[in-house]
């Protein structure tokens, strides 16, 4: 009984501690840093505003240097190859990344990140690599979208293979407004899994009860005294 009581106590302690964490405890591979929202989802209580970013790229020998612009919270990274810009008449290129407030709410897509306005004072001649981090508490986006104005229209610019967990990336030859999301009406694989989790746990509970109770009764009947606890050779 002592072992069962300690096991029960450990379950209660774990569930209590895990329940007290917002947005919920999980093990594994989620990003360490919570996502900073302009417009947080309804279930996010604690939120910090997202950061902007600025970069000056040097022009050396008539060629813009390779470099990466990023926001201070790391939610957006834009990588530039050497010679990525048309540097006519320039000695340096200024790049700015700003979260867009108010949040765009296009009817044609479900947005799962902040929208960011990325600008530079010179046009691109080589595509830049754009990486947006997304939150681990929303469905995963399927693509990145681009718009000239915050009001849209938003155009899909695709998504590459996931370089790091909870990031989405693509290449862009234009500056403007960027968000990650998926078409409205489409079911994100992440969203489906979110709905499946409670169902899966309910099925597990049913499975444990249906299989476990008869097994436990059978074992009790087969067990010869003294029982396992007293011998110290406990088994499941």
């Amino acid at each position: 009984m002592k072992r069962a009581a300690l096991l029960g106590a450990a379950v209660i302690i774990y569930v209590s501690v895990a329940w007290s964490l917002a947005p919920g405890f999980y093990d594994g591979f989620a990003p360490q840093q919570p996502y900073n929202w302009v417009c947080p989802p309804f279930h996010i209580s604690a939120n910090l505003p997202p950061s902007s970013g600025h970069l000056d790229i040097k022009v050396i020998g008539g060629v813009s240097d390779a470099n990466s612009a990023f926001t201070d919270d790391g939610q957006v990274v834009v990588g530039f190859l050497p010679g990525a810009f048309d540097v006519t008449g320039k000695t340096s290129i200024a790049i700015d990344i700003k979260p867009v407030d108010p949040c765009p709410k296009p009817a044609s897509l479900t947005v799962v990140t902040n929208a960011y306005l990325i600008t530079a004072d010179a046009p691109l001649v080589k595509p830049a690599n754009l990486v947006l981090r997304y939150s681990d508490v929303v469905p995963a986006p399927s693509t990145l979208y681009y718009a000239v104005s915050a009001d849209g229209p938003w155009t899909s610019i695709g998504a590459g293979s996931e370089a790091q967990p909870f990031t989405i990336n693509t290449r862009t030859s234009k500056f403007g407004y960027f968000v990650a999301g998926y078409p409205a009406g489409a079911v994100s694989s992440g969203g489906l899994r979110t709905q499946i989790l409670p169902i899966a746990v309910a099925l597990l509970i049913i499975g444990v009860l249906v299989a476990g109770i008869p097994l436990a009764i059978l074992r009790r009947r087969q067990a010869a005294p003294p029982d396992d606890e007293e011998t110290g050779e406990a088994e499941p």
Partner: protein, 186 residues
Amino acid sequence: MLSVLRARPAARAAVIAAYVLLAGWTRVLFSSAPQAAAPVLVIGGVALAVTAIGWGPARLGLGTSHLALRVVGGCALAVALLLPAATRASAAPLLPLSLALPAVVVSIGEEVAFRGALYAALEDLGGARLAIVGGTALWTASHALSHPPEFLLAVAAAGLLLAIWRWACNDLVAPIIGHVIADLAL
């Protein structure tokens, strides 16, 4: 080397403890590199499972008796581990599909290392109490780089639950099953 360590329980426990911490922290540090997450997690999980070398299956808690009960126990542990997240599903994090296999390998590796080899080494050194408390402390420390500080108490509570199961039921099969299901879901 293994025979020398077998004769010195304190040295063996210290070597396994240092190894699992090093393997866990190295995995976390390297898994953030671009395109590296999945392979590094798999290698890290295998590296942890290496600690099983030199231990018999029964000593690790991997016996086959009452296998059906062990499997059901694993499902029960998964229920306990997932219950807080499942009851607030809208906020549950989502494991990318590309990380499913790494999640399985890491879960098995962590259980074999912490509730298997490390538990057995600490139990040989100072009994079940040291195995549970010491193993849980090292388990929590190994997660210090991968989880935000406010999560570490829950990490410790999960480690304590799995370690108490290992002690109470002399079983590692259920913790492996429970850990794998929980990590696949989250």
